[in-house]
Amino acid sequence: MVEIILRNVDFAYVKDPVLRSIDLQINKGEFVSLIGPNGSGKTTLLKLVAGLLKPTRGTVLVRGMEPGRMRKRQLARIVGFVTEDLNPIYPFQVKQIVLTGRLPYKSSFFASWDELDFQKVKEALAKVDALEYLDRYFGQLSAGEKKRVSIARILAQDTPILLFDEPTAHLDPGHAVEVLEIMKKLHDEGRTILTAFHEINFAVRLSDRIVMMKEGKIFAEGKAEKVLTKENLEQVYNTRFRLVNDPSTGLPYVIY
């Protein structure tokens, strides 16, 4: 079953297009990674699927409906989006932050939390191994802990489709691997995952399919071993690469 369709999509913030003629289909339960240099349009593509932007031309469909035209709460029950780091300006406790992920299931006036909401918040925090932070203040957590809480907020939203924008950015290797393991667990549960990665080897490790982008277009797409050739990488990133075979997985490993 197809979950996400982008058909001949263009997008421009002002005049110059950021995305051009994008055609992409993502099936239910698939793990798809977007890679490409800064400014290649990965985040914009994610925002279109999340309904935060509307295409200038073409069609974006999530489960057959246009995100930009869907009721916001309806969309929020289908698509969850882990964006850049959360930065609440006032002191909020972790549970208060994760609870906002339950808003799509609440009345839009005088929303109040019930037992199910608190249960979902605890489940979400447990899934990212952060239940112990429930009553802590968000500002007191480390970068890795904050990232896990921001994932928990979206997990509390309980959506079948999850989008991630650079989920391992600013994390040390240990914390980055923790986040990758969480993403793998979510994929194993049957969720559809579309994520942007800077670290190419992370994409290789988790993805069913890799979409390589350059200057707002899809440059190559398919299995890691097909997309990640020396020629493709050097053309897209404008730098020299070395490719080896990772004996433990049999997949390509990129050195730069």
């Binding site: 935060l52 916001k72 959360l86 609440p88 007191q140 907020r153």
Partner: protein, 328 residues
């Protein structure tokens, strides 16, 4: 712990209201205040019921209104320096007030240019212009809104100064208004600030979880299905309406709307469901006490209330900042 704080706050509230009713140029002790409130034949009835109670109630309404609007605006804009006058309400109201004094002086027909009406009208015009100027493709971007609010404020302030230059004779009257005061409040003055406060308070409490999501991040709120533009429109328009209805009666009272939400956050946390209530209570207490001080300290004359709120509020806030826990 929290319950204890709430009980303390409510107790302080009741005691201070009684205290505010008892102080003034004629001192009335607590027992006589209570007697005057419930016994129509009491000898202090006219002072307590006719003069002080409407004034104290206006202080409570204005404090609650300005502080809760400030709390909601600060959350919505994710900006701790925002106050209820963000959209030009105070400068619009000032212009309307000075214009009313000017027109009455020039024409001699006081009743044609009622000060609160013109002041309220211009406060609403100012905030409406600020919103319309900021609006782009159906959304109200935060930076544009802050900028258009500043521009509208500067424009109306300049127009006010021009009128003050032309006024000359009645300039004291205008200055007294511009500094803000609760003197001369009657029961009739209370109705519109009270109704608009209730309307704003009810709507913003209803949207308190959405306000939490927006204080965490506007994009995050959108991702969680919040109709952010709807929340902004309701909170900005009802908040400006509440602030305008206060300012048009009392003049510009600064500081309460800016600093009270921070005190409330330090004491009761950032959850807007709690923050709106605690800000309203603390704002009401602060303004009521400051008005009592304003009446007594240079009696029989009065200090501008905005000056007293700063003298009282700044030390309290500094103590809270020093003593509060660090939440990162």
């Amino acid at each position: 712990m929290k319950l204890g704080k709430w009980l303390a706050l409510v107790t302080v509230f009741v005691v201070l209201v009684l205290l505010c009713l008892s102080v003034g140029s004629v001192k009335v002790d607590f027992a006589d205040v209570l007697r005057a409130l419930f016994d129509q034949t009491s000898k202090h009835r006219s002072i307590v019921w006719g003069l002080r109670l409407p004034r104290v109630l206006m202080g409570l309404i204005a404090g609650a209104s300005l502080a809760s609007v400030g709390a909601a605006f600060q959350g919505l804009l994710r900006n701790p320096l925002v106050d209820p006058y963000l959209l030009g309400v105070s400068s619009g109201a000032s212009f309307g007030a000075v214009l009313s004094i000017y027109l009455a002086t020039v024409s001699g027909f006081q009743f044609l240019y009622r000060l609160p009406t013109l002041s309220f009208a211009f406060a609403m015009i100012a905030s409406l212009v600020a919103i319309v100027l900021a609006k782009k493709d159906g959304i109200i971007p935060i930076v544009e809104l802050v900028l258009s609010g500043v521009m509208v404020s500067v424009l109306f302030s300049s127009a006010t100064i021009t009128l003050l230059m032309l006024l000359r004779r009645n300039i004291t009257h205008a200055y007294v208004w511009l500094f803000g005061s609760l003197s001369g409040m009657t029961w009739n003055d209370l109705l519109s600030p009270f109704v608009f406060f209730l309307l704003f308070f009810w709507a913003s409490l209803g949207l308190s979880q959405q306000l939490n999501a927006m204080a965490i991040g506007e994009v995050q709120a959108k991702i969680s299905g919040v109709n952010t533009e709807f929340v902004k429109l309701i909170v900005y328009s009802l908040g400006s309406l509440a602030a305008a209805s206060v300012v048009s009666k009392t003049g510009v009272i600064g500081f309460v709307g800016l600093i009270t939400p921070h005190m409330a956050r330090k004491l009761f946390g950032s959850d807007h469901k709690v923050l709106l209530v605690s800000s309203a209570l603390i704002g009401a207490i602060l303004l009521c006490v400051c008005d009592a001080i304003a009446r007594v300290i240079v009696s029989p004359s009065e200090m501008p209330i905005g000056v007293v709120t700063a003298f009282v509020g700044v030390p309290v806030m500094l103590v809270l900042l020093k003593k509060g826990e660090n939440h990162g």
